[in-house]
Amino acid sequence: MKESSSIHPLLWPAVLAILVGVIAAGWRWGNLGSEGAMPSLPASIATPPLPEKTTAPPLASAAPANTTDEDVERAAALNATQPAPAIASKPQPAPMNPSPPPFVIQEEVRQPTPEELAAIPPPPEAVAAMKAGPPPDVLRGMQNPPQHMMQGTKMIPPEFKHALNPPGTPPPVSTKP
């Protein structure tokens, strides 16, 4: 005898359970990489890189390095009294007469993931700084540190034998994305 194609009444709880699972999966997916219920949007809204001035005095000088590149970023001001952050997708000027006062500029619309952040190449000035290495006199100090302060640096004092593994310490966290 051919069975009916309609859902048997006994199967309705199971169908409901599957629906709940699917809805929960969708909710979970939608919240990955986001704060609360914010929409997942590309994390590429940013100001362009800044021109760099290099007119600061050399290291040995005691005068201030007063290079002052300013990239005054204009973005939406958030009203501090709003319980949920009103996030703007584009920069906006501050209100002229805010009451209560505007709070803080806001540019991005979602929380970037650690994987995304770790994959971003360094800013050009960081690349230059890393390539250049330490300043000459800092390097000299690294190569010729005060010997009386170095004698104990390679040994762990006995009382700290267990300091690296306190209770609750999880396995080392990978920093790879």
């Binding site: 169908v15 940013a46 050399p58 002052t68 500029i105 250049a132 170095m150 004698q151 040994m155 609750g168």
Partner: protein, 366 residues
């Protein structure tokens, strides 16, 4: 027979649905435990709002009577040992650790920069600041370059390092003038940037050596009276976490500043209306490099002392609170976060209301 098959099918499908529902709706929950620290620190009155962490040694804290203590796990309990007796108490971020050489820098009672180090047999101290007039406040260290950074009483940025023959103290950025309490600095030890804030606290700024000179650059300006009050740097992601506030009674927010590949951007990391605000003695945040977790310690604001954390290693990545005390430090149970360690899984807290001793909060995060 047909009924039995239907019942079996019903059970299978119901279990499948339940597993789906539970699997996608649950997230990792961290339990935070609390332990009283033993040793000499148990009798010390709290004062300093400053602490620092060395992964190999422990968390360092300066007590009300200027004793520098190391707090650590000895295999069976959280305990403490005194290292020095001349650290300045009652100030913010006046301890910083070079966690490669295990040198503990601190502001001394004479307002100079001191360092405490292990000789191989005992602990010794030495004055490394060449000037006694700068009134160093906020300390941070680039452990790769062994450079100590600090902001002085005028808010200027200085570097202290050994140049191969002597300790030197060099002014790096002299354009900043800030209020005393509400500022801090943080180091990105990969980029070798030191982050700090500007005169009116509405500009975020970083300084670095470009191969020929030290340069300082402003990357972000807040508007509407908002201010950067403290900051820390998360090592792996290069994010700069900043506590932002505008005025009294305006909730503080946790903001992240990060590089997108073409410029610097913000996102609003945390806000719940109960974060500490710009009130004495303000607040600070604590970096936990080498981990995706980052602890933020919110100090007393007249209503709340709060410890926030985020867990990037498990499913949940939202900022949340592991501990909040809202008794105005009116009792010994009120905890005041001082420093975080072990990848953000342990937090040293002093007791509220002048009660002696301190406690360690630690988590069993997955």
């Amino acid at each position: 027979m047909k009924t039995i098959q239907q019942v079996k099918t019903l059970l299978r499908v119901t279990i499948l649905g339940a597993v789906l529902a539970l699997g996608f709706s649950s997230s990792a929950e961290a339990a935070w435990n609390e332990n009283t620290v033993t040793g000499g620190i148990a009798a010390e009155a709290p004062s300093s709002l400053s602490g620092a962490y060395d992964p190999g040694y422990g968390i360092f804290w300066c007590t009300a009577n200027s004793k520098l203590y190391a707090v650590y796990w000895n295999g069976s309990a959280w305990t403490s040992t005194q290292w020095a007796a001349n650290c300045a108490s009652g100030n913010f971020n006046t301890i910083a650790v070079d966690n490669v050489n295990h040198w503990v820098f601190y502001r001394g009672t004479d307002q100079a920069i001191w360092v405490c180090y292990y000789t191989g047999a005992t602990w010794a101290t030495a004055k490394v600041g060449t000037s006694l007039v700068n009134n160093p406040r906020q300390l941070c260290v680039d452990s790769g370059y062994h450079v100590l950074w600090y902001l002085d009483g005028s808010g200027y940025l200085w570097a202290v390092y050994h140049n191969g023959s002597a300790w030197v103290e060099v002014l790096i950025d002299g354009v900043n003038q800030r209020s005393i309490n509400n500022r801090s600095c943080g180091v990105d030890e990969v980029y070798h940037f030191v982050w700090h804030t500007t005169s009116t606290q509405d500009n975020l700024r970083y300084s670095y050596h470009n191969g020929s000179a030290w340069v300082s650059t402003t990357t972000g300006t807040l508007i509407g009276g908002a201010k950067y009050n403290t900051l820390c740097v998360d090592g792996p992601t290069h994010q700069i976490y900043c506590l932002i506030s505008a005025a009294t009674n305006v909730p503080t927010r946790l903001l992240s500043r990060y590089y997108t590949g073409s410029g610097w951007a913000f996102w609003n990391a945390f806000e719940d209306g109960n974060l500490p605000i710009l009130a004495s003695p303000s607040h600070y945040c604590i970096p936990s490099p080498n981990s995706y977790s980052c602890i933020l310690g919110g100090a007393y604001d007249g209503a709340y002392a709060k410890v926030l954390f985020t867990n990037y290693s498990a499913n949940a990545r939202n900022w949340t609170t592991c501990r909040q005390d809202n008794n105005n430090q009116g009792g010994s149970t009120g905890l005041f976060p001082l420093a975080a360690g072990h990848g953000g899984r342990s937090v040293l807290c002093r007791n509220g209301n002048g009660a002696v001793g301190c406690k360690v909060l630690y988590s069993d995060l997955p």
